[in-house]
Amino acid sequence: MGSLFRSEEICLAQLFLQSASAYSCVSELGERGLLEFRDLNPHVSPFQRRFVGEVRRCEEMEKTFTLGSPARPRALSEHEPILDPSVHQHLERKINFVAGVIHPWRVSAFERLLWRACRGYLVATFVEMPEPMEDPATGESITWVIFLISYWGEQIGQKIRKISDCFHCHVYPYPESEASRADTMSGLQSQIQDLSVVLEETEQYLAQVLDKVVLALPTWWVQVQKMKAIYLVLNQCSFDVTEKCLIAEVWCPVRDLTQVQDALRQGSYKSGSSVECFVQRIPTTESPPTLIRTNKFTAGFQSIVDAYGVASYQEVNPAPYAIITFPFIFAIMFGDVGHGLIMFLFALWMVLYENSPSLRQASNEIWLTFFEGRYLILLMGAFSIYTGFIYNECFSKATVIFPSAWSVATMANHSSWSSAYLATHPLLTLDPNVTGVFQGPYPFGIDPIWSLATNHLNFLNSFKMKMSVVLGIVHMGFGVLLGVFNHLHFKQRHRLVLELLPEMIFLLALFGYLVFLIFYKWIKFSAADSLVAPSILIHFIDMFLFTSNAENLPLYPGQVPVQTVLVVLALASVPVLLLGTPLYLWCRRRAPRMGHPTAVGTGEQEPLLEGQEAGNSVNVTKEDVESGGHSPDAEHLDFTEIFMHQAIHTIEYCLGCVSNTASYLRLWALSLAHAQLSEVLWTMVMRNGFVRLSYAGGAVLVPVFAAFAVLTMAILLVMEGLSAFLHALRLHWVEFQNKFYVGAGYKLCPFAFAPDTWE
């Protein structure tokens, strides 16, 4: 299967880069996005790294790109005199003027002080400036207040000037005569005009320059970011002794090694260096990162598996199976043709328009989540349609594709149900013992008569509970079987006999037998023995307690001894599971130490520590798979740890078998909840729209349908959909995956100039 089945083979490699061509080589590698660089200078602080200067320059350039338009310098224009103090009462005295500008907050204080000091000898007028101007001292934009004080008397004048000084007013010369005032004004006006022309032209020029820059800005931005990324990567490399060569350690998929060599060759060529850079694989005992290549369809399913834990290096990946089992388990809890169809159509729309930029680049996170999972939702809807047909539910109504198997007429004729009899008996039951009443099972799904029956839950609950248990045990058995791939791949064949076999025996002897009992009872027992039909649950409990119940008839002759054998078998497999693997490892350890050249299983090449060959591609030791992480000190095996780990695994597995089987009953619970909610919406909302068969009734139907539609979407599709999604996810993550999955790996994060960042 290749990429989705298990992680690709990843090797540790060293790149030898000439100092001159290092930049362009890394740039080439970044364009292709193949490798993950490892930090060879982890103890060096970011400020002490070699290329810290270059990184800083890039960051500064980035900052200038993010700034908005620079603040335009404001020219201080002179204030325009607004007042013409023509009227003055004291004609004899000479009137002088003080004109200036004052900060608006100081106006009232200024006025008060003037009044107290020079009362009666001055007239002060304050006018606000029409537009705010910049304060040359602080740079703030303030609406200055212009004042004009007319006074008489020299002393008053001095007082006024002193007061204006205190208040930090800007005082401007105010010409005495009318003519000079007019001159000053026209002079100022022409100055203002000149300045504004200059300002306009400067701004136009600036705008042109900025326009050109804006066009080029995205490319520069990209270039600067690429540059910064390359320098950050170069910071992670180490210089060799001669200081001419950069050494980088990378995780590289084995499949891409030739491409890497190609990229290095191109980089060397571009930088004009004569010596080529090259890549060399090196052996390692560390656990490499996991790389599973996905396409747009499989990516969604891989991400829900990764959300719980990234697969350990080269362990079997649950995703290819989850592509189908996850939507299927969802559909069991969501089964309704109508709701499934709506979900399917919504997902189909998203899939058909997946390349439209308005869908892809939306900023709403919730929408993006739905959009990323469009293939998931597509399959979920499709399977829901299927399970909806099996449950025979379409917006809670049953469809009669095939005629029902239950004959009411035959029963009525047999028991002489006349109209009078019916009138006095509100509820009557069809008896399958009567010939002709039950005519063979409905060929596809649940018989539509059950949707009309008042005791339909009695039947459906029994059916759904047994279905949940059967499907759960099958799902878990499949999970245990997937462990085979792991044991074979990691060359741990002893685990097949010492772990897988006891696990399967335990599961099948107890719960496989339960599945058998369920199917057997369905096939062998019919209405004829309905009064004495045995209870599977009681039999199952008695099986564990080694007792028997006289009233509970056996399902088949010889049941008790068979069950005893099965329980004994299951119990016997527990110590094998508990002690098998540790004892086996213990024996293998002791044998070489004691000098016995014991043949350790022919054909087995367990890559235990002493067998590690140099130059091998990375092999994961057993400890790596069990502990799921790096194996730092490969030589030292702690047996107490192994025993403890195995004991925990055994207890978890055995108790888990019981509790997880019960956990699958949520399939029944949620499908029941969905069906009941559907039915409530029908009986209490939609059905009320059909009450009156008249034109008025038609008008009533419209708001009733609106309410029905809104509630269906909100409660049944969104809420129930999310709920079933969550529970299906839980069943996969816990009940299914804890049978074989370790999930302690980490993803390969290749150094790449990712295209979506530059959009």
């Binding site: 290749g2 089945f5 029902s404 009525a412 509100p426 009557l428 099972p441 029956a453 209405a527």
Partner: protein, 82 residues
């Protein structure tokens, strides 16, 4: 109407159908990078859907009790369906 439903016919038909999907179709998947995934999907779908349908039909094959109906239902089903 009440027609006798045979038990064997659906079993044969659906087993054949899902057998085609899960056992025969994998042989015809064209070679390509996704061959393994498609085959896995086909087999998993066939197993899941077949098992689900089988459980539904077996659960109804030998009913231990029948539906309990309201008298109105009996009245109109009796004359409408049959």
């Amino acid at each position: 109407a009440m027609t006798a439903h045979s038990f064997a016919l659906p079993i044969v038909l659906f087993s054949a159908f899902w057998g085609l999907v899960g056992i025969a179709a994998p042989w015809f998947v064209p070679k390509g990078p996704n061959r393994g995934v498609i085959i896995t999907m086909l087999i998993t779908t066939a197993v899941c859907c077949y098992l689900f349908w089988l459980i539904a039909i077996l659960a109804q094959a030998n009913p231990l009790f029948g539906p309990q109906l309201k008298n109105e239902t009996i009245w109109y089903v009796r004359f409408l369906w049959e």
